[in-house]
Symmetry: C2
Subunit: 571 residues, 2 copies
């Protein structure tokens, strides 16, 4: 039935052999795997005088159906992965030498899965192993061959094995190169982001793209509990899976985040650590997982802050590799991305922390200054909220708003230099006292004016009592001379003064305050800013002091006192 | 003399040819360039029955002497780069077909530089071009051959050309891979640094290592002038070349920093843009330069700060590539490193800026609080300097010192809540007044206690009037209950109070102040902190108020007033 001995039948002369070798050389000069395989198979079929042929390559414990010639009906098999022991291909791999089958249909090893689709009358088969240093790297099958040409076919088969290996090596190296090149870009991109949310989105998207996975998730460890909180994921059926919490150490993600190990699971159904609850929630079918820890590097600060230690902060998972399995290259790549991502997250947090610290401290200190006069308590904070709301309504640049917020918080900082007698005086101020009060913008400038990083904020501090018609103080600047920040804070400041309770009156209702602001539009106030504040209030973006729960009516001393709004000296 | 026609002399039979092909296949299965060339040359010499042989590869407009066989005396030529038109090698490249020379010594094209070192009696030569798709990629010379075997040698020569090309491709790809892999590590490493000086050192070292250059320099553009300032360089004879300034647009670095172009100069002597002044200064001999711009990426901040624009900030140069020339791969690699470096520099600056802003603002605000009482002017700043000096003498952790500085600046912030009458009172305080004054640590805690990022600093604010024996305020904490920060600031605070001028007395001399501090050691003050301050003062690290130029004697009201040091209420 089968014969291990190939029929000896050498019809080739020296000249023909040299021509064949030259053709093989020409084919092999291509370093691209697919055309190389294609043309090599064609040459071997021609030498053997066969009617059709197929080529398989070994890939770990599988074979890949790579090329078919002379049989268009089998074309759809190309790319299919099969068990390594299948049919006569498997037999050739085990034998590690050529098989000669007179009638494949009579051979029990012949596997219908490979043959049924074949539309030709297949009878005989020459099945050649491609040997590289005694390892079978592939199999060529030539159907209905007319010649065996054992010496030449073996020579060419081995040549092919070597060329396949070279092309694979190069392809692998080039793939690594292009993925590393992508990784460099990615690392550069995420490294230029200090916004946590943008950063999380980028990391998770890039992880999925780089690893060619169907989905990806990022978990961060909650410091208080050790639980893992899902931050973001992509590729799931539901674009965002929200409020997923894994108890400490739970699931593969929990294991990775706790131990710092990288876990690669080919089939999650067989891994007990896998927690299927997210899949149940989303309907996503997780098959394979590569999970790496998010471990920050040591971060080097300036001289004074020195280093922060390396520590685990969570885990990144990629799910279901689209083509093949997650391998060692994938592991290394994702580990590198994760390490970099963790560091950048840490730096973004550090940056956010010091910004938060700065804002909190200036807010606390200006609140303490406000608190010297119980009737301006919370004033600086509210003015900064109103000013930011105006700027947002006007759709001003984020960086402008950033500086405006700081400037507005600090706008009354000069009151630190006003004596208690004037600052806390419950009744009306004398001219001298008002004169002292009016010096607070300049005192503010004197206190903060030398600070390099605060130059953008200074105009707000100096100009928040200027009026468009030039009747304000300290400099009597006119319309074109007052900065936008100054105009915005002037409106925010006046509005808070009008609507906040005072010793001698309750705060005005919003409508009455706006009647007055509008009456002063274009003489005192910038009309655009006034209307922007109106919009912001109507949208519920901000609220005046009198409508806030946190500072209740208990502060009102004399509700019945008739009031006038002393616009300028009050703020 | 010479003959373009190779003598036809084919002695090989089919079997021999197949054996040769099999041997060539075995040799070619190696993908490492050097052994491949070595073994291939040996095979070709054997086939031609030659006595010796050499192999050259074409590299751009040069040839590289790659292998020599049968002539140990020429071994030292290996690796030498020669002009592409040299001798019979050049003639073979031009002819693009084999040359057969009966007597090389009679051939005017024979170049002594290649032959003199040859110890053999060289007469005849078969010079074979290695052809890949009609391009000559190398030349093999076989000396004193006995057979010509034109068909087989041509076949093997071309095979060799193809294999060389494949091995080169793979080598190139693997080199790129390993350099990209190094780049990923580098980018990760510099990305975890927020300290400008460390960062500049890292960038410049990595640039030199990655590009395999003899030296490297980093220039930053001075915003005010546009001049380029050399920040750091490595590899020069003088390890650090200091205070180098290139006028705007001057030199190759200036050109690159201004235009944003990458410049690669193979021979700087021929480039008019090159500024030789640094070489003159250092004695370094710059031959080739690769200079790329430092261009920051767009940086994404939080919602409020949004993006910063891309802009040029300087230039990185690498000088004298050790092996060969700077090529396109080098350009890309250095551009990527430079882009990333620029971004990280920008982020480090942003981080430093916001830290500076925070410190400046709290210093300005606490200075304003101090200034309410002219006799405590500058107090908070000095206390923070003394405290930091103590901590540095004690070699405490940089991060501890960072928080200590902030805490010390803010230690008296609660005085914002003390009424002017008490705060500014020139004489002694009544018990009630002293009672109010003593509330300032708690007021400070109330003002700042809610701030998440300030928790480390709070103990300093609350505890700086506690005493080791439990007799301090506000809580009467005892030795083991007072934090190190609190103990340090208590000493710094008392020392400044003693040595600063007061309405009723001049500041004490240092010696007298220390007599009193030491008298209170272990009851009031931590003796270790007292001695650390003594050390710091002796080393000139800090100075008390009375010895400072900026706050002179003009503040002293009554120099003759007898004094006692009211330790607690004064600070």
């Amino acid at each position: 039935m089968t014969s291990q001995t190939v029929v000896q039948n050498s019809a080739f002369e020296l000249e023909q052999v040299l021509v064949v070798i030259e053709r093989a050389d020409a084919i092999a000069s291509s370093m691209t795997l697919d055309p190389l395989l294609d043309r090599m198979l064609a040459l071997l079929i021609e030498i053997a005088g066969g009617e059709a042929g197929t080529l398989y390559l070994v890939d770990d414990d599988e074979i890949v159906f790579q090329v078919v010639h002379g049989d268009p009906a089998s074309q759809h098999l190309v790319g299919m992965r099969l068990p390594i022991n299948i049919g006569l291909v498997g037999a050739t791999i085990r034998a590690a030498q050529p098989l000669w089958i007179e009638d494949i249909n009579a051979d029990p090893r012949w596997d219908r899965r490979l043959g049924e689709a074949n539309s030709l009358q297949l009878r005989s088969l020459l099945s050649l192993p491609l040997l590289l240093e005694e390892q079978v790297v592939g199999v060529i099958q030539i159907f209905n061959p007319q010649r065996s040409e054992p010496r030449l076919l073996k020579l060419l088969g081995n040549r092919m094995a070597a060329e396949v290996e070279k092309a694979r090596l190069l392809k692998k190296s080039q793939q690594r190169e292009s993925r590393l090149s992508a990784l460099v870009e990615i690392v550069g991109h995420i490294g230029s982001t200090l916004d946590r949310k943008t950063l999380l989105n980028l990391i998770i998207d890039y992880a999925r793209i780089l690893l060619d996975a169907e989905a990806s998730s990022l978990f961060l460890t909650e410091p208080e509990t050790g639980d893992l909180i899902l931050q973001h994921s992509t590729g799931h059926l539901h674009e965002r899976v929200q409020s997923v919490r894994l108890a400490k150490g739970r699931g593969i993600a929990g294991y990775v985040a706790e131990t710092g190990e990288t876990i690669c699971v080919g089939d999650v159904k067989r891994d007990q650590r896998h927690d299927g609850s997210v899949d149940q929630m989303t309907g996503f079918d997780t098959r394979s997982i590569l999970a790496v820890p998010l471990r920050t590097r040591c971060i080097t600060f300036g001289r004074e802050r020195a280093q922060s230690e390396e520590h685990l902060i969570g885990c990144i998972e990629v799910l279901n590799k689209r083509d093949g399995r997650f391998d060692d290259d994938d592991k290394l790549l994702l580990q590198t991305l994760a390490r970099q991502a963790a560091t950048v997250l840490e730096i973004a947090d550090l940056y956010a922390d010091v910004n938060e610290l700065f804002l909190d401290v200036i807010q606390a200190l200006t609140a303490a200054i406000d608190a010297k006069d119980p009737y301006t308590e919370g004033h600086s904070k509210r003015v900064s909220e109103f000013a930011v709301a105006i700027a947002e309504e006007l759709e001003l640049e984020p960086s402008f708003i950033h500086h405006l917020r700081i400037g507005a918080i600090l706008h009354d900082v000069g009151k630190i230099g006003i004596s208690d007698g004037v600052l806390k005086k419950p009744g009306r101020l004398t001219d001298d006292e008002f004169g002292e009060m009016k010096s607070h913008p300049e005192i503010g400038e004197r206190i903060l004016g030398h600070i390099r990083m605060l130059q953008t904020e200074l105009p707000v501090i100096i100009q928040h009592h200027e009026r468009l018609d030039g009747s304000g103080y300290p400099y009597g600047l006119a319309k074109g001379q007052i900065s936008l920040g100054g105009r915005i804070v002037a409106v925010a400041d006046a509005f808070d003064a009008m609507t906040s309770d005072r010793p001698y009156r309750r705060g005005l209702p919003i409508e009455e305050a706006f009647r007055r602001l509008r009456a002063g539009a274009d003489t005192e106030f910038d009309a655009v800013c006034v209307e922007a504040l109106w919009q912001a209030l109507n949208r519920g973006r901000v609220r005046p002091q009198r409508l806030r729960d946190d500072i209740g009516d208990h502060r009102i001393i004399n509700d019945a006192t008739p009031f006038r709004t002393p616009l300028t000296p009050s703020a």
